[in-house]
């Protein structure tokens, strides 16, 4: 090595350092101006305010009943116990049965998974057909579908009960899955139609020239391209269907009552003392699924919404 640089390492190190000093730093804003303090104070206060119920729920769920009877709602548990959680999951009474909220959990899974998959599949298919193929009366179809999204559930409840009963689907798993699929259709179709509207039409034309038919273009080209919007759709459908109460109560039938309905039963079933800790644990367990989905998928959710940019 030459005498100017002592070692090769030093030589390579020198470069970025020189570049670093040469860079112009924008004037950094001071860390804690009074205005900033005010903003933080407001943010922390409102966060604390909204988190308070959650805190009370978690704290209560971890207390034994003796402690709850003391009435100190905001105090931390002195003898923390997970017994109420275990009880809520596996032995709380939902009416006459005492097998805990887990029955409802698995029922909900059985309802949510097929409903989500089927409604997204048909939503994507509708959106694809409406965006790329010349469907006669396409505008009318879409308009009617959208109109369906604005009609309140309650209006359709009785006719739907009668129709499902007529085809022997009332009170069955297939029945409730069908109901969720149908109710999810307008929003899913809208979501995918808008997504496909952003896909350049020339892509579809190129695939047509390459010999792709309706299904092949859908499965091999459009569906793989739809991953971002599928993630959004999954999040929407999972949380919506999981949180549903009235449809599950009416259509699922005694054997398939979803977790939300079972939770209601746990809370309304009292044999002597009201088990606040068990109720709290059961409630948290029920809301856990949507909560986890939001926490895990936040990044994806935003990415999906911003996924108009498929230009590559």
């Amino acid at each position: 090595m030459s005498t100017t640089t002592t070692t090769p390492a030093a030589g390579t190190m020198a470069k970025p350092a020189a570049a670093g000093t040469g860079r112009i730093h924008p004037a950094r804003r001071k860390h804690l101006t009074p205005g900033r303090l005010g903003v933080y104070a407001l943010l922390i206060t409102s966060a604390a305010f909204f988190l308070l119920p959650l805190y009370v729920m978690v704290a209560t769920s971890l207390k034994p009943m003796e402690e709850i009877r003391l009435g100190n709602l905001f105090s931390l548990p002195l003898h923390a116990t997970v017994e109420p959680w275990i009880q809520a999951w596996s032995s709380a009474c939902t009416g006459l049965e005492c097998r805990g909220i887990q029955v409802g959990f698995w029922n909900s899974v059985k309802i949510v998974v097929p409903s989500t998959v089927i409604s997204i599949f048909f939503g994507a298919l509708n959106g694809y057909a409406l965006s790329f193929w010349r469907v006669k009366w396409a505008g009318w179809f879409f308009g009617i579908l959208m109109f369906g999204a604005f009609v309140p559930y309650q209006v359709m409840m009785y006719p739907l009960v009668r129709s499902l009963a007529a085809v022997d689907l009332f009170g069955t798993l297939a029945g409730i899955v069908l109901i969720h699929t149908v109710f999810g259709m307008p929003v899913m179709t809208l979501l995918f139609r808008n997504y496909y509207a952003g896909v350049p039409g020339e892509l579809f034309k190129a695939a047509r020239i390459d010999g792709g038919g309706f299904w092949r273009i859908f499965f091999q080209l459009m569906l793989p391209m739809s991953l971002p919007i599928i993630v959004v759709a999954v999040i929407m459908q999972l949380t919506n269907i999981w949180n549903d109460f009235i449809l599950g109560l009416v259509f699922a039938g005694r054997e398939n009552l979803p977790m939300t309905v079972q939770l209601n039963n746990v809370i309304n079933t009292t044999t002597g003392e009201r088990l606040y800790n068990v109720n709290m644990a059961a409630t948290i367990l029920t809301s856990m699924v949507p909560l986890v989905i939001y926490l895990v998928s936040g990044r994806w959710f935003v990415r999906g919404i911003a996924a108009g940019a498929v230009k590559g």
């Binding site: 350049p200 020339e202 034309k205 190129a206 047509r208 390459d210 080209l221």
Partner: protein
């Protein structure tokens, strides 16, 4: 390789006539360029040849087969789009083999075709990349490769270079010309860029409002435009137009305007000119020369602007309100706002009827 025949084609989109009674013959191995301003129907015509737009009436045959109502895939065509239209979730290789795979061609044959196309277009290194990892020029080469792999008789190009920057455009233009030379395939190419049209075409069809105005070799379209639209559309700066009258006397014919007077006796008139008929003289910038001392000058005008182009310069003259562009030598520096004489070569002028704008 196939020829394309179009007879009495009518295309209507949402009740509006885009193209009516259009006839076009494209010979085998020909490179036909459809040239025209936006909205002239050139892309519509191309898309209808591809089968992406239904025709209202007329007949269309590719390689002797009537394909008027055939599915795009059954027409024996390959197409390249302006926006590349590559399948974003597939690699370059999968993009190119998509069509043949659907057609059920056996793997070894597909592999052979992909390799051949990749080699021709310098894509061999990129076969396993996704379109998002390619530059604009590479993407368009993949799109061309995808068309090649289809082993089509006719290749359709819909403004394939318009999304590229100037340098890449001229590069890829050369590659396209080279490709046409090697393949000898029939190509129909839509563009609004007259340089692409002039350089690539074996014949240019200039279109306006759904009608083909003129279809001829680039040289003929440039030198003998059939009307003022074609004359003005080709060439940059475009052809100079001067309004005036024809004077026919003593066996000689002169074009006369307030600013200039030239003899056009040898002009190949379609019909013998009437004395006093109003006409428009069209002359390209390279056929006007400046004459500082005024010898042989057809007229004189003020120098209003000079645009240096490097190898040459465009001198803009103001002849009593009529603006004339002159392609002049870069060495010569005319004085601004001074009167200067100009000479017009009568052999290269075009004369048009003032009313019909048709060539006389």
């Amino acid at each position: 390789m196939s020829n394309v025949t179009i007879e009495d084609l009518d295309i209507r989109l949402s009740g509006i006539d885009i193209i009516s009674k259009l006839n076009l013959d494209v010979a085998e191995g020909e490179f036909l360029v459809l040239l025209g301003p936006s909205g002239c129907g050139k892309s519509t015509l191309l898309h209808s040849i591809a089968g992406l737009i239904d025709v209202h009436d007329g007949r269309m045959a590719i390689g002797g087969n009537d394909v008027t109502w055939a599915d795009p895939k059954d027409r024996g065509i390959g197409m390249v789009f302006q926006s590349y239209a590559l399948y974003p979730t597939m690699t370059v290789e999968k993009n190119m083999s998509f069509g043949p795979r659907i057609a059920g061609i056996d793997k070894a044959e597909i592999q052979k075709r992909v390799d051949r196309a990749a080699k021709m277009l310098h894509l061999t290194e990129l076969l396993h990349r996704k379109p998002a990892q390619l530059s604009g020029g590479q993407r368009q080469r993949v799109a061309i490769g995808r068309a090649l792999v289809r082993d089509a008789g006719v290749f359709l190009f819909d403004e394939p270079l318009s999304n590229l920057d100037a340098k890449l455009r001229s590069e890829l233009r050369r590659e396209l010309k080279q490709l046409h030379k090697e393949l000898g395939a029939t190509m129909i190419y839509v563009t609004h860029d007259q340089v692409e049209a002039m350089t690539l075409a074996s014949r240019i069809a200039v279109m306006k409002q759904g009608k083909i105005q003129q279809i001829d070799t680039p040289g003929n379209v440039y030198a003998r435009p059939v009307n003022m639209f074609v004359a003005g559309f080709l060439g940059a700066p475009s052809m100079n137009f001067v309004e005036g009258r024809l004077e026919a006397a003593n066996g000689g014919v002169h074009f006369v305007s307030p600013t200039l007077r030239i003899e056009v006796t040898s002009y190949p008139f379609a019909v013998p000119p009437q004395h006093g008929a109003s006409a428009v003289l069209g002359v390209r910038p390279e056929h006007i020369t400046l004459s500082p001392d005024g010898t042989h000058a057809a007229g004189s005008a003020l120098v209003s602007l000079v645009e240096p182009m490097g190898s040459n310069q465009v001198v803009w003259l103001d002849a009593q309100g009529v603006s004339l562009a002159v392609d002049a030598d870069a060495q010569f520096t005319p004085a601004l706002d001074r009167k200067i004489g100009f000479v017009i070569e009568p052999a290269h002028v075009s004369l048009f009827d003032k009313q019909t704008q048709e060539r006389l």
